[in-house]
């Protein structure tokens, strides 16, 4: 039984088709990484999953089920009961996501009071206990402080505390470690992993850092120009990458073990006001075929059942497949 099933999510904001076709699923306790460069629609996908897009945005999905409910039917009232309670989010920049005029403790306690109906006192105790679990020294004093008194890594931990305090079934983390130092990043990742193991929360981890993905994810979805172009387990996407974009991305990252010349991806992503007729990556792709410009590979082509790549190379009648079947 899947916790989240999302099929063909489309979001357009005015003339921009920010998300064109995102399909992903999450099992309870699974950590899926959503990888892609800026402007590819990762954050829009995340915000849509919380129904936090502005009213001018138009959202459409063929299927959008969460914990057995059809999320497309929910009213704003019902959404309010879900947000922060069943689905919670860790934002990239804790300094702007936290309220500067409220103490850290009261911000962490707020979801408990709203969703679980706890008293002020009880909620505060729970917040302090959580801060202590997240390795913040003197949690009782710290809870009475304001965001500006916290360092970046501590703020991110406060942000995590706020998100997990109601023990959500799904935690969406939007680049939670991008602004942090490597040593603090390691700490935050280990906290997230521990939380996931202890409470079985499913996680959608949005990042552009492949190193972080390798560290924390079970499965990976790669996004490009508003579409999920490759989906599979961590092993699939990292050692048998099937989509040319994923392959190019991996060649563009410096590697500590064998420093090689970096192969940059030539060109720029398409303008999503006028998305291309065919495959979004065709213009920059080294495997480009005639059909790539004409028709989008709109069927998620399968290399194996769980590992899918949206690419004409994986069409069952591509010559490479003939050779495989002959062997």
């Amino acid at each position: 039984m899947k916790l989240l099933e999302l099929d063909n999510l489309q979001v357009s904001i005015g003339p921009v088709q920010a998300v064109r076709d995102v399909s992903l699923s999450l099992a309870p306790g699974e950590c899926r990484a959503l990888v892609g460069e800026s402007g590819c629609g990762k954050s829009v996908t995340a915000m849509s999953l919380l129904n936090l897009m502005p009213p001018t945005a138009q959202t459409n999905a063929a299927r959008w089920d969460f914990a057995g409910r059809d999320m497309r039917q929910l009213s704003e009232r019902e959404w309010r009961r879900i947000r922060g309670n069943e689905i919670a989010m860790i934002f990239q920049n804790p300094m702007t996501a936290l309220d500067p005029t409220q103490t850290i403790g009261s911000q962490i306690a707020e979801p408990l009071r709203i969703h679980k109906g706890l008293s002020k006192r009880e909620a505060r105790m729970r917040a302090i206990a959580l801060l202590e679990r997240l390795a913040i020294a003197n949690p009782a004093q710290r809870a009475a402080q304001y965001p500006f008194e916290f360092s970046g890594g501590m703020l991110q931990r406060a942000m995590i505390a706020m998100a997990v305090v109601c023990e959500p079934q799904l935690l969406i983390a939007d680049e939670p470690t991008t602004a942090l130092d490597v040593t603090v990043q390691a700490e935050v990742l280990s906290i997230l992993r521990e939380l996931r193991e202890s409470s079985g929360t499913a996680m959608l981890f949005i990042t552009h850092d492949l190193g972080v993905v390798a560290e924390i994810a079970d499965s990976v979805s790669v996004m490009y120009a508003g579409q999920t172009v490759e989906t599979g387990s961590l092993q699939d996407v990292f050692s048998r990458e099937a989509h040319p974009y994923t392959q190019a991305l991996k060649r563009a990252v410096p590697n500590m073990e064998n420093p090689h010349r970096l192969e940059a991806i030539a060109g720029t992503p398409p303008d999503l006001r006028h998305p291309p007729k065919g495959c979004g990556f065709a213009a920059r792709c080294c495997e480009r075929m005639a059909i790539c410009d004409q028709l989008p590979p709109n069927f998620p082509c399968e290399s194996t059942a769980a590992h899918q790549a949206r690419c004409w190379l994986w069409h069952p009648e591509h010559p490479a497949r003939w050779r495989e079947s002959e062997q």
């Binding site: 800026s38 890594g153 130092d181 490597v182 552009h208 993905v213 560290e215 991305l249 990252v253």
Partner: protein, 327 residues
């Protein structure tokens, strides 16, 4: 080749803060040789940017000597001295938007360093056009304004602007950390090409270890205002001697899924992260160091040669080397 263009002798930069004198840079001795790429790594707050800014003349030092091209530099520059210095040292900044004048066209911005050297008119214009092309931008980009370009394109302009006056040293302060992976690869390749083409020395400040490993011939590791380890990049990355370098390398996520790093929760006593003060005695890393002894907090360590051709500032260097050899 090995003539030093920049020499730092006991360089200090102290700021007044609530707790006393904050030692952003505290007694740094360093030579930057002609034609080399020196990587400078460390966490935020370690003083790496301050050091870059002192060398570029953007920040007066508190004490110590700064020698550029064999000439001792004054603490405060007169206009004329600053101009003379800027023909030798140029800087590429992290925020490419903030570092360009929004009211000047790209072509004008590019010519500015030439104008200040007395090169004007068609000569400067031709040179700027050449550099536009050299960094991979179309001539039409010259008539545009900074906000009309993408982050990657703006960073190319920043680089062209630094190299156009043919300086002996270019200081790059996190030039790629704000960019996407694929753009990052383009910029790194461009920097490397220009560096070899013009044999310009480069001080490359970054927190991304993989990028430094890729670009730098020598690497310096900074911790709270001091250089704790210094040496040829391969030796330093393969056999780190200082416990801080080892910690930094251990926290780096290299995208290797076969060897996930098991990061224990509570690794960092980040709560005990203290600002460096001028009155500190002893090793600043001691409170976080797994190897620390009571003696470490008594006297400050100094850079000593190790068996792998690097230098490390650690009281327990001898013990660490024995441990490493046993492995």
């Amino acid at each position: 080749m090995s003539a030093a263009i920049v020499q730092l002798r006991e360089l200090r930069c102290h700021f007044a803060s609530g707790e006393g004198l904050l030692a952003a840079v505290d007694g740094v001795n360093l030579d930057i040789k002609a034609g080399e790429v020196l990587g400078l790594v460390g966490e935020s707050g370690s003083g790496k940017s301050t050091m870059g800014r002192i060398i570029a003349g953007l920040q007066p030092r508190s004490a110590g000597d700064l020698i550029i091209g064999g000439q001792a530099m004054p603490r405060h520059y007169s206009r004329r001295q600053f101009k003379a210095m800027s023909t030798q040292v140029q800087m590429v900044f992290q925020d490419s938007y903030a570092s360009l004048n929004p009211r000047m066209t790209i072509l004008a911005s590019l010519q500015e360093p030439l104008w200040s050297q007395g090169v004007t008119g068609a000569v400067a214009r031709d040179k700027a056009c050449y550099w536009l092309e050299r960094v991979g931008l179309p001539q039409s980009a010259g008539e545009r304004y900074p906000h009309e370009l993408s982050g990657g394109q703006r960073q190319r302009i920043g680089i062209a602007r630094a190299f156009i006056a043919e300086p002996k040293l270019v200081i790059c302060d996190e030039p790629v950390s704000a960019l996407d992976v694929s753009v990052q690869a383009q910029i790194i390749n461009l920097l490397q090409e220009l560096q070899t083409e013009h044999n310009t020395a480069m001080l490359f400040i970054a927190h991304d270890l993989a990028v430094v490993r890729f670009l730098a011939t020598r690497t310096a590791v900074m911790y709270l205002g001091e250089i704790v380890e210094l040496g040829p990049t391969p030796a330093l990355f393969e056999g780190p001697r200082h416990p801080y370098t080892a910690r930094l390398l251990a926290a780096h996520l290299d995208g290797n899924i076969k060897a996930r790093k098991v990061i224990a929760a509570n690794t960092g006593k980040a709560a005990g992260h203290k600002a460096p003060l001028a009155t500190d005695s002893g090793c600043r890393f001691a409170p976080r160091c797994p190897m620390a002894e009571p003696a470490c907090s008594a006297n400050p360590p100094w850079l000593r040669p190790t068996k792998v051709d690097t230098e490390a500032a650690c009281h327990r260097l001898a013990d660490i080397e024995i441990l490493k050899l046993r492995k």
